[in-house]
Amino acid sequence: MIICPNCRHTEYPGTLFCSECGARLWELSAEETAHLTDSFKQPTQKLGSELLPGHTAPMAGSIAIRIQGSPDRLQLTGKAEYLLGRGDPKNEVPPDLDLGPYNGQQMGVSRRHATLLYNEFGLGIVDLGSTNGTLVNGRLLTVGKLQTLRDGDEIKLGKLALNVYFGPENQ
C-alpha cells in the first residue's frame, strides 16, 4: 500500500490520485528532490473559505517576490496563476517562477512546488504536493489547501525563503 502524504489515506500502488483528498500520488516514488530532514506535522488549524471578500488584495500587476539572500525582486504580472518550482527538462510545464537558479534543488524545491493564485478577492498559495512542503509565516500548509497571503508574508518552499509584497516596483 502507499500512503497519501496529504491525508494519510492508503491506496494501492499505481494509484495516481488520492481518492480521499485528490492529491497526486505518482511523484511519491519518482520525485528526486533532495529529501530534507524536517519532519512533517499535520497542521491542526482549519482552513477553508479564505478566498472570500473582505481580504486585502494586491492591485493588479503589483505582486513582487523577493528571494531571501538574493538582491532580486521579481515582479509578477498578467496572470491569475503562477507556478512556483524549479525548471527541469523533464517538467511538462515550466514554472512561471523558476527557483532553480536560486539553488532550488539543494534547498528542497520540487519541480511543481506550489501555485500562487490571484483574483479580485486576494492572493493565495496552494502547495501542489511538494516533497518538502510549503510554510507561510512558519506554518506548514496542507497539500492542496488554499492559504491567503498578506503583504510581506514569508513563504518557505522547502528551505528556500521568499517574501511577497503587494506594491509598485519602486517601493
Binding site: 491506496e11 495516481l16 490520485f17 485528490g22 472570500l52 493564485l117
Partner: protein, 487 residues
C-alpha cells in the same frame, strides 16, 4: 447485407500466416487464460467458447480457407480501439496494484458512410411546474428541431403529465407548418409520471424501428417521478435490446439526477443538467444535430479479466463524461460518431503473475453500424503489460493524468453527498472544502465558490441545496471530458 465476423486469428492471438503448430500452441495458451475452471470472470466461459470455436475452424485447413474468404469479403474494420496505459510496465509485487487504461474508440477511414436517418421521439414533461419559460423554451427547441429535419427522418412528440398523449405521431414531417401548430398547442397541467411518457414515446419509435436509423428517445423533465422508477428501468432495458437509446435532460433542480443517469446510461444515452430555461434550445438542438454523424449505436465494451485481475471501475470520459454502470456486461458506452472518439477510462486492480508479461484482460468493442444495418460489429484486442523488478520513473501520460485528475474531483463530490446522506456533516464539509481548494488550483473559481458556499451552508444549517448539488455534480463532470478541438 454484410455480416460481421469475429476475428478468429485475433481471438487466438496469432498472425494470419500462422502455421498449424503455431495455432495449436496459441490455442493452448488462450484456453488456459479463459478456461472457466481457472477464471472466475462471468464472461470467461463465453471467451473460452469463442477460443475453442476459433481453434476448430483454423485447425481445419478447408474450413480455414472458407473462413479466410468470408473474412476478406467482410472488409476492413469500421472502428478500432486505441490504448493508452498509465504505465509501460508493472512492478512485480506481493500485493495488489492499480493500472489504468484509456480506451479510445475511433471510426476508421473505411467508415465513410452516409449519415443515418433519424427516428426521434421527444417526450416532454408538461406538468404544472413546467408552466412558463420552461415549457416555452422546450417548445421553441422542438420547433427548431422540426425545421432541421430531413425528408427521410421520422419524428414524434409525446407530452405527459399523469398521463401521456401523442402530440405528433411518428412519421416523416411532410407538413412542417401543421406540425408546428400542434407543438404550439401543448399546454401545462398535471403531475409527473415519467413511466407514462416513456412507454408512449417508445411505442412511437417502435412503429418505425429500423436497424439503419438512429432510434432515439429524448426525455425532458423538471420533476421527480414517484414509485415508477423500477418500471422505467425495465422499459430502458427493453429499449436497449431494441437498439433504442434514451437521453434524459433535466431542467431545474427538482428532478432525480441519479435516476435519470441510470436510465440514460442503461441504454447508452446521455443525461444532462439544464440549469436555466434559457439554454434548453441550444442544448437540445445541439444534441439532435450531434446524432446525424452517428456511425455506430449501442456501443458496448466486453472486458474479460485474466485470473488475478479485477476491473474496479469504468468511466466514459469523452465525448460527454458519464458514469458507466458496472452491473451491466458488456459495458454500455453509448454511440460512436464518425468525427469524435469515444474514450473510456478503465481501472484494474492486479495481482501480478509469474513470467515477464502480465496479461490483464481481453477487450471486445461491439457496436451496431447504422448505415450498413449491421449489428454486432466487433473488434477484439488483449491488454497486457511488461513485468519488471525496478520501478518506472517516467511520468504517466498526460491524457490519463488529466482525465483522472478531474474524475477524482467528480468522485470527491459524490463522496461528499454520500457523507451527507449518512448524516456525517463534518466529513461532508471537509470533502467539499477539499474539493473547493482543488478546483481553485485547477482554475475553476466559479465552481469552487459554489462548493465553498455549500460547505458553509452545510456547517450552519446541516442542509444542502438541491441546486448547488446539481451544479457541483454536473459542473465537475463536465470538466472530465477533454476540451473539444475545433476542426
Amino acid at each position: 447485407m454484410q455480416q460481421s465476423l469475429p476475428d478468429l486469428y485475433a481471438c487466438l492471438g496469432v498472425a494470419r500466416s500462422a502455421t498449424l503448430e503455431e495455432i495449436r500452441q496459441a490455442f493452448r495458451q488462450a484456453a488456459r487464460r479463459f478456461h472457466p475452471d481457472g477464471n472466475p470472470d462471468p464472461s470467461a466461459s463465453e471467451e473460452f467458447k469463442l477460443i475453442s470455436h476459433s481453434y476448430d475452424i483454423l485447425s481445419d485447413p478447408q474450413r480455414r480457407t472458407e473462413y479466410d474468404a468470408l473474412f476478406e469479403a467482410a472488409g476492413m474494420p469500421l472502428f478500432v480501439p486505441q490504448l493508452i496505459a498509465s504505465r509501460n510496465q508493472m512492478l512485480r509485487l506481493n500485493e495488489p496494484q492499480v493500472i489504468y487504461f484509456l480506451v479510445d474508440i475511433r471510426a476508421t477511414l473505411w467508415s465513410n458512410l452516409p449519415d443515418p436517418p433519424l427516428n426521434i421521439c421527444l417526450v416532454i414533461d408538461r406538468s404544472n411546474s413546467m408552466q412558463g419559460p420552461r415549457l416555452e423554451q422546450v417548445k421553441s427547441a422542438a420547433r427548431q428541431i422540426i425545421e432541421g429535419l430531413n425528408a427521410e427522418d421520422t419524428f414524434s412528440i409525446v407530452a405527459f403529465s399523469d398521463r401521456a398523449e401523442v402530440i405528433v405521431p411518428a412519421q416523416p414531417v411532410v407538413n412542417k407548418a401543421a406540425t408546428l401548430n400542434k407543438v404550439a398547442a401543448i399546454n401545462p397541467g398535471g403531475g409527473t409520471e415519467i413511466l407514462q411518457g416513456l412507454l408512449t414515446g417508445l411505442l412511437e419509435i417502435q412503429r418505425n424501428l429500423n436497424s439503419k436509423s438512429v432510434n432515439h428517445l429524448i426525455l425532458l423533465t423538471d420533476g421527480r417521478t414517484y414509485g415508477d422508477e423500477d418500471n422505467c428501468m425495465l422499459l430502458a432495458t427493453l429499449a436497449e435490446g431494441d437498439s433504442i437509446t434514451v437521453s434524459g435532460l433535466g431542467i431545474g433542480d427538482e428532478w432525480n439526477d441519479s435516476f435519470l443517469d441510470q436510465l440514460a446510461s442503461a441504454t447508452g444515452g446521455e443525461s444532462r443538467y439544464i440549469s436555466s430555461p434559457a439554454v434548453v434550445t441550444r442544448l437540445l438542438t445541439e444534441h439532435v444535430r450531434g446524432m446525424a454523424g452517428t456511425l455506430a449505436q449501442r456501443l458496448r465494451l466486453q472486458v474479460t479479466c485474466d485470473p488475478g485481475v479485477n476491473l474496479k471501475s469504468a468511466f466514459k470520459v469523452s465525448p460527454q463524461a458519464q458514469p458507466v454502470p458496472m452491473d451491466l456486461q458488456p459495458l454500455r458506452i453509448g454511440s460512436l460518431r464518425r468525427d469524435e472518439p469515444v474514450s473510456v477510462l478503465l481501472e484494474f486492480v492486479v495481482r501480478t503473475s509469474d513470467g515477464s508479461v502480465q496479461n490483464l484482460a481481453r477487450l471486445t468493442v461491439i457496436g451496431d453500424v447504422l448505415s450498413l444495418g449491421r449489428p454486432d460489429e466487433r473488434y477484439m484486442l488483449d491488454l497486457q503489460t511488461k513485468l519488471t523488478e525496478a520501478p518506472e520513473m517516467t511520468p504517466p501520460p498526460l491524457a490519463i493524468v488529466n482525465a483522472l485528475d478531474k474524475l477524482t474531483l467528480y468522485r470527491l463530490q459524490e463522496k461528499a453527498w454520500a457523507a451527507v446522506d449518512e448524516g456525517d456533516v463534518l466529513k461532508a464539509t471537509t470533502r467539499l472544502e477539499t474539493l473547493a481548494t482543488r478546483l481553485i488550483a485547477d482554475g475553476e473559481g466559479e465552481l469552487a465558490k459554489v462548493a465553498l458556499a455549500e460547505a458553509y451552508r452545510l456547517g450552519q444549517t446541516r442542509q444542502i441545496s438541491a441546486e448547488a448539488r446539481k451544479r457541483i455534480k454536473y459542473g465537475t463532470r463536465a470538466l472530465i471530458a477533454p476540451p473539444k478541438s475545433k476542426p
